[in-house]
Amino acid sequence: MNTLVILFFLLLGAYFVAVLENWISKGRFQLSAPLYAAVAFLGRESFIPRKPDQIFYEVGPVLLLLSAVLAAAVIPLTPDLIITDLATGALFINAALVYVLVALLMAGWGPDGAYAMIGGWRFLGQLIAYAMLIVMPITAVAMRAESLLTTQIVTSQLSLWNIAYQPLGFALFFVASMALAFLPPFNMMIAKGELAGGVEAEYSGMRLGIFRLGRLVLIVTLAAATVIFYLGGWQGFYLFGFELPPWAWSTVKILIVTMAMLLIGRYMPRIRETHLLSWCWMIGIPLALLNIFVVGVLVLEFP
């Protein structure tokens, strides 16, 4: 039952992200656009490249969708609404999200095409950049909660949300999750101007639909993860004398974070791969370590 609700929520979230993306990039707010697009995928012919690596080609988009849904399995929207409250929940999110790399590499290698392959390689480089920056802030968050249970992490923020407690960790996690979801400015692998669509380029029809859906669900999952780690999950406050139910708070926060993720990339050119790697390793990781140290000291004083 929980599973169905969460899956439905993910689908709805993905739909809204599609609408938002359309609005932000084209200035048209059309609620029906993703629906038309989805049915159009069904109606369009889908063809495969001439000599694909069949397994990888087919599995790539599906794995992307699966890993996003798996990561969402441990994310609580309300204290009771969680698919599975694993004892290692926070780490499980990271583990599931690693498969995004595998999925994109498959999608890059499978079609036997140069643009897709280069896109896949670029994502490999990007993973090396952002991987540490996802795990280390999670570590700091778990330190404060003294547990890896995601529900525990949310309740530990009762006094002060983590965004104020560990702003450095928030900034790093936010940037790293944008890189994981290959949103602009980290979208080298589906670069429209450079690689003519890159990893996405060789897919059409239903497979492209699944790929895009997977990406949207990934964005929603990452926004949800940011919310539970740093923005206090379902906890809210009195707003004009009203008290919104927990799921409404979750939804609102996730929506805000998603909008922020989508909006930021619009105002910047794509980052160069060399810079991404060098900045993440030379600046990002020391900052993440500093964050862990600072949080460690703070936890002793202010639990």
Partner: protein, 953 residues
């Protein structure tokens, strides 16, 4: 009914799907969004989404008129779009000429209003016609593919049939290339790129047969090679048997005699010169192009003595005469009648000293140089290959015909290695890369595997122990199994036997023919008792002792070790089996410390110097600059890739994601301005139509040149109006470039802002331009503050100031070369113009410079103070009929300096030469993109602001 409908019957669900597809329109713009912006169109506002790849698109939007080469490329794009697909053409003519594309489904004019109406029509057509019960496939000659075979280690060896590489003996691997190589304008592999017809299986048209031009009786339904002569099969329509019957209007094609690249399927006029198109058959295309109308004769295949200069029927048997080149001149240069013999192309053993017919097949004998003594001696050391005199890249190991032109291949020695010339025979030894123990003092072939020996400086004493000069045997380089003690001739081929040292003593003692077996170095399980070729990979088998235990006692060189060919790190002192793979260990000289030293000095892992090491196997392959060897791919970026100007074909050889080499070409540049005299006004119109991105600049240039020829001087107010026009075009062009730059770097906000500004400026008059000044300044300030933009562009694509190319325009000025044609102009000087420059010459400098130039242009327009009522059109008022003279003018177009020289003769322009800036800037690409990461390389190419339309090939 749309031409690109999908097969199916309209059920309820399909209707729903069609409706959704009509609402979700993905459009791919050809030749590019910069053209649509130049015409003032806004595609997003019309309701269509611009997509990055044709595979996500359902509408192909063709803006303006496209030259034939682009139509071919557009056909490839069209074939990649998933059905249902719609062809939407925006053009001023009523029936746009789009062959080989199908006729346009929706046609609209080149204005925003008509575009919007066209989109409405399109939606309706798609909703109703997306599925159709009877659809025909789309096929075009440009989509045909043929397979050729190349050697993985020697990419210059190309054959049409499977076989072995003459250099190393390995099996050739298949590779796909475009079939009409002589016809196409995009000559590169079609494997995995924007041009590849990945759905080739679907577009394969089964109603076309393939036949050999020389053997019309050979007919197949798939492309391939003629089994009789090896030539490529040409497509032929099913209805007829014979090529020549198609000389009628319905199925021929029409070409301009002066512009053979112009090809249409219906009679008409040449777009370049206006002449009537002449009919010509499709099938003999590739042969025909090399035939000048004066140098073709028609002959009967069965009666070669029947020769005519026009097509027709043979009087003896009635067959249609086939075209054949008259012996091309340059052949004769090589041939002296005394040294020429005549041979049959199909039966090379038939040799005569006079021309005649082959007794076996009746064909005319073709002349060929005699194998002179001189040649023969050189052919001792190396293997003979056959190459086409006109196409030196075509190489075969047997005599035959050139696939591109049909000429006989001439014999030639394999290219001697350049090293060969520099090495003195006394200080150099020749060794086999795969078998370092094989050492000779003269060049030859390795007796073990047949590869050519490489020269190498003499090694240490250590090696000499292994070569005992007194124990020498003589062997044939082509037949290594022929071995004699004395010099002589090879009984099999007659060549002189080469001396060769007997192998390392211990091997020799045991190399008894009865105790030796032959095995493949790459496939150790293949074992034979006689020499030959490996059935799996085709390499020569090497001899190897049958493992007998007692060998061990006879090994006098205690320093011999046994190593596994596949695992060079496994080393033992006794023979046996490799613990990792079970192969027999092969004897090998130990790596002396001397060896180790050289290996480590060159940075190689010393494990890799052994058998089948990657260093040796990839010896001939290129090396990457950063030391990380990755897959080398030839990737085309282009003609329609988003981010680069449409019509520019950029083929990058990528080493991983670094650019190793770049090859550029334009598909829309015009070569000849004039083929006959035209009136001055027509010339002005022609030059205006040259470059749709900057029409006014060229119009102005033409007017200035003609006025210069006529000696006319315009008055100040006209000059000022012209200044305003030129400067406005500069602003528009720079904003268009900015949009393209933003698209390339994924900077969405800038893309939208720049394109909306461009639209405002295109339609603005003088007062509006001045009002837009603030927006431009704001944009410039915003770009200064944009995060990541500086780091993206600083240091990338640095153009050196001291290059021998003549750079001009923003590209030059950003590097500090301050040349600007406007500095010499009176009016500009009066308004206080000084050229803006930047110092660094990288992408950031060019970006900054163009922004500064936009601001400067607005200032100039403001200062010029032209009245609002003056038209901003450029034209010549006075009649030109009686003017004669020579004129020249220089103008600073938005991209650089353009120069025009022309000759006027009584109002007619008789000759004209044009130099454009993009032609020179194109040559920069090669050096600027070398060793750059792909993204940087593309941004560099984009920052040069090339216009493929004005590039003169």
């Amino acid at each position: 009914m749309i031409a690109g409908a999908r097969q199916g019957k309209m059920s309820v669900f399909k209707r729903l799907a069609s409706f959704s597809m009509s609402q979700d329109l993905g459009v791919y713009v050809v030749p590019g969004t910069e053209i649509t912006r130049a015409y003032g169109l806004d595609i997003e506002a019309a309701g269509m989404n611009i997509v990055a790849s044709p595979r996500h698109a359902s509408v192909l939007l063709i803006a303006g008129d496209m030259p034939a080469a682009l139509c071919d490329a557009a056909a490839v794009i069209y074939a990649q779009m998933p059905r249902p697909r719609v062809l939407f053409s925006l053009t001023t003519s009523t029936t746009p000429e789009l062959s080989p594309l199908p006729p346009a489904d929706i046609i609209a004019g080149l204005s925003q209003q008509e575009l919007v109406q066209g989109v409405v029509q399109l939606r309706k057509a798609l909703a109703e016609g997306a599925f159709h019960s009877d659809v025909s496939d789309f096929n075009a000659p440009v989509l045909q593919i043929r397979i050729e075979y190349v050697c993985p280690m020697h990419p210059e060896v190309i054959q049409d049939k499977p076989g072995s590489c003459p250099k190393c003996g390995m099996n050739l691997m298949p590779r796909e290339v475009q079939a009409n190589a002589a016809h196409n304008h995009t000559e590169h592999k079609m494997e995995s790129d924007d041009h590849s017809s990945h759905d080739h299986s679907m577009t394969h048209d089964t109603s076309v047969n393939y036949t050999c031009p020389m053997h019309p009786e050979v007919v197949q339904s798939k492309p391939g090679s003629c089994p009789k002569c090896g030539m490529n099969l040409e497509p032929q329509e099913k209805e007829t048997e014979h090529d020549h019957q198609h000389m009628d209007h319905t199925v021929g094609e029409y070409t301009c005699p002066m512009h053979p690249e112009v090809i249409r399927s219906k009679p008409g006029s040449c777009p370049e010169c206006g002449m009537n198109l002449e009919p010509r058959e499709i099938e003999v295309k590739h042969v025909h192009q090399h035939m000048n109308h004066a140098a073709v004769e028609y002959t009967c295949p069965m009666h070669p003595e029947v020769v005519q200069s026009e097509p027709g029927s043979c009087p003896e048997c009635g067959m249609n005469l086939e075209p054949r080149e008259i012996e091309v001149k340059h052949d004769h240069q090589h041939m002296d009648h005394a040294a020429v013999e005549y041979t049959c192309p199909m039966h090379p053993e038939v040799v005569q000293s006079e021309p005649g017919s082959c007794p076996e097949c009746g064909m005319n004998l073709e002349p060929r140089e005699k194998e002179t003594e001189h040649d023969h001696q050189h052919m001792n050391h190396t293997v003979v290959e056959y190459t086409c005199p006109m196409h030196p890249e075509v190489i075969r190991s047997e005599p035959g015909s050139c696939p591109e032109c049909g000429m006989n291949l001439e014999p030639r020695e394999i290219e001697a290695r350049p090293d060969h010339q520099h090495m003195d025979h006394t200080a150099v030894e020749y060794t086999c890369p795969m078998h370092p123990e094989v050492v000779q003092s003269e060049p030859g072939s390795c007796p073990k595997c047949g590869m050519n020996l490489e020269p190498r400086e003499k090694e240490t004493e250590h090696d000499h122990h292994h070569t005992d000069h007194t124990v020498v045997e003589y062997t044939c380089p082509m037949h290594p199994e022929v071995v004699q003690i004395e010099p002589g001739s090879c009984p099999e081929c007659g060549m002189n036997l080469e001396p060769r040292e007997i192998e390392v003593k211990h091997d020799h003692q045991h190399m008894d023919h009865a105790a030796v077996e032959y095995t493949c170095p790459m496939h150790p399980e293949v074992v034979q008792s006689e020499p030959g070729s490996c059935p799996e990979c085709g390499m020569n088998l090497e001899p190897r002792e049958i493992e007998v235990k007692h060998d061990h006692q006879h090994m006098d060189h205690a320093a011999v070790e046994y190593t596994c060919p596949m695992h060079p790190e496994v080393v033992q002192n006794e023979p046996g089996s490799c613990p990792k793979c079970g192969m027999f260990l092969e004897p090998r000289e130990p790596q002396s410390s001397h060896h180790d030293h050289t290996a480590m000095e060159s940075g190689m892992n010393h494990d890799d110097s052994g058998f089948m090491s990657m260093i040796d196997v990839t010896k001939d392959l290129p090396r990457s600059g950063d030391g990380l060897p990755m897959d080398w791919l030839d990737v085309p970026f282009g003609p329609f890739i988003p981010g680069l100007p449409g019509g520019l074909l950029l083929t990058l050889t990528l080493d991983g994601d670094t650019v190793a080499a770049a090859n550029t070409n334009t598909l829309v540049g015009t070569e000849t301005l004039l083929c006959h005299a035209i009136s001055a006004n027509d010339f002005i119109e022609k030059l205006t139509a040259l470059d749709p991105l900057t029409p006014n600049s060229y119009r102005l240039l033409a007017c200035l040149t003609i006025e210069n020829a006529a000696g006319i001087e315009v008055d100040t107010s006209t000059a000022k109006t012209r200044l305003v026009t030129l400067e406005r075009e500069r602003i528009v062009s720079h904003l268009s470039w900015l949009t393209l730059f933003a698209e390339q770097t994924g900077f969405d906000w800038l893309m939208q802002r720049a394109s909306s500004l461009q639209k405002s400026f295109t339609q603005a008059d003088v007062t509006q331009i001045i009002n837009l000044k603030k927006s431009v300044y704001d944009l410039s300030k915003r770009l200064q503050r944009t995060p990541l933009l500086k780091s993206r562009t600083t240091g990338v694509g640095r153009v050196p100031a001291d290059t021998e190319l003549t750079l001009s325009g923003p590209v030059a000025r950003a590097s500090g070369i301050s040349n600007d044609a406007r500095s010499n102009n009176k009016i500009y000087r009066e308004l206080g113009f000084t050229a803006v420059t930047q110092v660094n010459g990288d992408v950031r400098a060019r970006l900054q410079l163009r922004l500064d130039e936009i601001k400067q242009s607005i200032e100039l327009i403001q200062k010029a103070n032209v009245s609002v009522n003056d038209t901003l059109a450029v034209s010549i008022e006075e009649p030109m009929d009686t003017i004669s003279g020579q004129g020249q003018a220089v103008i600073e177009t938005p991209r650089g300096q353009a120069q025009l020289q022309l000759t006027l003769d009584k109002g007619q322009v008789t000759s004209a030469q044009l130099q454009t800036p993009s032609t020179q800037h194109l040559l920069l690409i090669e050096q600027l993109t070398s060793q750059q990461e792909l993204g940087d390389a593309l941004v560099t190419v984009g920052s040069l602001d090339l216009s493929p339309w004005e590039i003169r090939p």
